[in-house]
């Protein structure tokens, strides 16, 4: 008999780590929607953003800046780094490859991944850097209902709040600003957007910048949880099945997919894992994505793919 309390605890923990997958997947979706590029470098961008932020914070704190000023300046520095990266990628990698097929673009983002990882670690160092922006201790809630209560990590709650704010902000940005409208136009049809006078390379820069900022947010949350370190880049791989499940072109899909994967793999690991050897987390998301693909090739929220000859 599995205790309901334990189940809920695992479920909540899973959902919260799912939020983090969603944050990475969100960056993918933004870029894929606007430029059709399947951006393998998103994980590396999270690493770069995290390293830039944490190193800037360390430096500022060591020079006697107050905590809040250090945070503001540090995040500003991180954002500046992401803007530079976005410009460089647009200018030197994606720009010259316009109109190439998807596979070439995908491989070029893998090339960009190598460059970003190498540069980030060379400039900012390659150790594990702890990031302390939020409390990481745990709450016990619902103690009246279940014996011992349910363990909820404060950081997970913060992560959820941040992700929610971010998605709301993105929705407003996409829906109600001029650039947001231009972005949606480009996502619909590059050529048509270009022909009505939307400057496509500037739009792509904005998209990569927004993806970079999303990466910065993801880095803040992940970095607080695990410390900023190289293994963050493997997140990118976890975000792929999230995308497939949610649909490559859907922002709500990225969120829902992340939650499904996060909750699913934790539950599978805890309740199914012991019977078949453990470590299911490693592949569960991918097999789940495979199953979803077989039933709904466009993902849960994706646009239906219509093929023409």
């Amino acid at each position: 008999m599995i205790a309901l309390g334990q189940f809920l605890e695992v479920l909540i923990g899973g959902l919260m780590s799912g939020v983090l997958y969603s944050l990475v997947a969100l960056g993918f979706v933004l870029i894929f929607k606007a430029s059709g590029v399947f951006n393998f470098a998103q994980g590396a961008m999270v690493l770069l953003a995290g390293l830039a932020l944490v190193r800037a914070l360390d430096l500022l704190m060591a020079n006697g800046f107050p905590f809040w000023a250090a945070i503001v300046l540090g995040i500003g520095f991180g954002a500046a780094i992401m803007a530079t990266t976005a410009w460089l990628i647009e200018r030197f990698v994606i720009g010259p490859l316009v109109n190439q097929d998807a596979l070439t673009l995908f491989m070029s983002t893998i090339g960009a991944t190598f460059i970003i990882e190498g540069a980030a670690e060379m400039i900012f160092g390659s150790d594990v850097y702890p990031l302390r922006l939020f409390p990481t201790d745990a709450w016990f809630v619902l103690e009246g209902l279940f014996p011992g209560g349910i363990l909820v990590n404060k950081l997970d709650v913060w992560g959820g709040v941040i992700a929610g704010t971010l998605v709301a902000g993105l929705a407003i940005f996409f829906q109600w600003t001029k650039i947001g409208r231009a972005l949606r136009a480009v996502a619909d049809d590059h050529l048509a957007a270009q022909s009505v006078g939307i400057p496509i390379s500037r739009i792509w820069f904005v998209v990569w910048l927004v993806a970079g900022l999303v990466a910065l947010v993801a880095a803040i949350v992940w970095g607080t949880k695990l410390g900023v370190q190289f293994s963050i880049t493997f997140l990118a791989l976890k975000a792929l099945p999230v995308l497939i499940i949610g649909g490559l072109t859907s922002i709500p899909g990225a969120i829902a997919g992340g939650l499904i994967v996060g909750a699913g793999e934790k539950i599978a690991e805890v309740f199914l894992g012991p019977s078949i050897g453990g470590g299911i987390e490693y592949w569960f998301a991918y097999v789940l994505a495979l199953a979803v693909l077989l039933v709904r090739p466009q993902g849960l929220f994706g646009e239906r793919i219509i093929e023409r000859i």
Partner: protein, 375 residues
């Protein structure tokens, strides 16, 4: 002057359909094979430069041959049939572990049925080939989704194979014969009574495999099956409309590709590594193979070799240059620089020549045809 097919008249249909219709190509291939099969072993036996130590043979040529073979396999799937796969590493692992199990004897206890299946250790050659067949079987299984999904979606689906098999070989002790460390040792390499042990013998063994499989593949891709694959790649719906069965074409591509990749995996494990753990076939290996295929040229056997040579030699070069120049750089910085330079090279090549080295070679041939009077 040198490379011109004028005057090479074909008098029979068979001559016209030859794999290498141009005489200069045949001569070049014969010279290349001669160097590879006779020249290199001779030089290596007498330790003449550049084979004064075993380094070149052991650390460069051997991995080059095996990975070129794996790249040929990947190229069949990605380059000829257009199905992107990020799971080649997993198929290499399946080939390696299946060959390992067969080479050391299979014992499957069916405890609840009261009997067990036992197969005595098979000869190495047989187990390598059956290892390839096992990979082909799994390849067909993981190829089934390709009937519904394509492109990058399929790439993610093949990632499922990659991560599942990584986990399987790491966590299920049966595959590693209950080795406590998870690392396994290849059985002794005995081929028809000969023990393959020295680097030269290993090199010749791999070379034979590569030459035979490359020749077979070259022949396969120009025939009926290869043309079906290419039709599917170029436009699958149109191919279906003119009567090509997507099910058959796609699954044969998965099977043939996985077989070759599986054999390459078994060779990698048995002949090159000797003892290995699942990490040898991680996602990095899959990406490396994909790079070889794309940099080398999609849909080109020659390109697979060039791509493999390039992807393997760049890190070695990058490693050598600072030591040769005597620049004092920490190993950490070198690793990071390697990453940056490698990534930049990849991006540069993709931008300059998205169709890879194979395209450069064919441009070179065209130029050579007109040389020295380019009018």
């Amino acid at each position: 002057m040198l490379y011109r097919e004028a005057g090479q008249l074909k008098t029979t249909y068979a001559e016209d359909m030859a794999v290498f219709p141009i005489r200069q190509d045949r001569i070049a291939l014969a010279v290349l094979l001669g160097i590879a099969f006779i020249g290199v072993p001779l030089l290596a036996t007498f330790h003449i430069w550049p084979f004064s130590s075993d380094y070149l043979l052991w650390a460069i040529l051997l991995p080059f041959l095996v990975l070129a073979l794996a790249a040929i396999g990947t190229n069949i799937l990605v380059g000829y049939c257009g199905q992107i796969s990020l799971g080649s590493g997993a198929f290499m692992a399946i080939g390696a572990y299946a060959a390992y199990k067969l080479g050391t004897g299979v014992h499957i206890p069916f405890a609840w049925l009261g009997f067990a299946i036992s197969i005595p250790p098979l000869p190495v050659l047989v187990s390598i080939l059956i290892g390839g067949l096992a990979a082909a079987g799994v390849g067909i299984l993981f190829g089934i989704p390709s009937l519904r999904i394509k492109g990058l979606y399929l790439a993610v689906a093949t990632l499922a194979a990659q991560f599942f098999f990584d986990w399987l070989f790491l966590r299920v002790p049966w595959f590693t014969n209950y080795a406590p460390s998870g690392s396994v040792n290849a059985p002794e390499l005995i081929f028809f009574g000969l023990i393959v042990h020295t680097p030269i013998e290993r090199y010749l063994l791999c070379l034979t495999f590569v030459a035979v499989i490359a020749a077979l593949t070259k022949n396969l891709v120009r025939g009926n099956l290869g043309r079906q694959w290419m039709a599917i790649r170029d436009m699958d719906i149109a191919a279906e409309l003119i009567g090509i069965r997507p099910l058959y074409a796609k699954l044969t591509a998965f099977a043939v590709s996985s077989f070759i990749v599986g054999v390459a995996g078994a060779l990698w494990a048995f002949v090159y590594l000797g003892s290995w753990e699942p990490l040898a076939f991680s996602i990095d290996r899959s990406l490396q193979l994909l790079f070889m295929v794309i940099i080398g040229g999609l849909g080109s056997i020659m390109g697979s070799f060039v791509g493999a040579a390039f992807i393997l030699s760049v890190p070695i070069m990058l490693n050598l240059i600072p030591t040769e120049l005597g620049v004092p750089v920490s190993t950490e910085t070198i690793t990071h620089l390697e990453f940056i330079i490698f990534g930049s090279l990849i991006c540069y090549l993709l931008i300059k020549e998205p169709r890879g080295f194979a395209r450069l070679i064919s441009i070179g041939k065209e130029k050579l045809r007109l040389w020295p009077f380019p009018y």
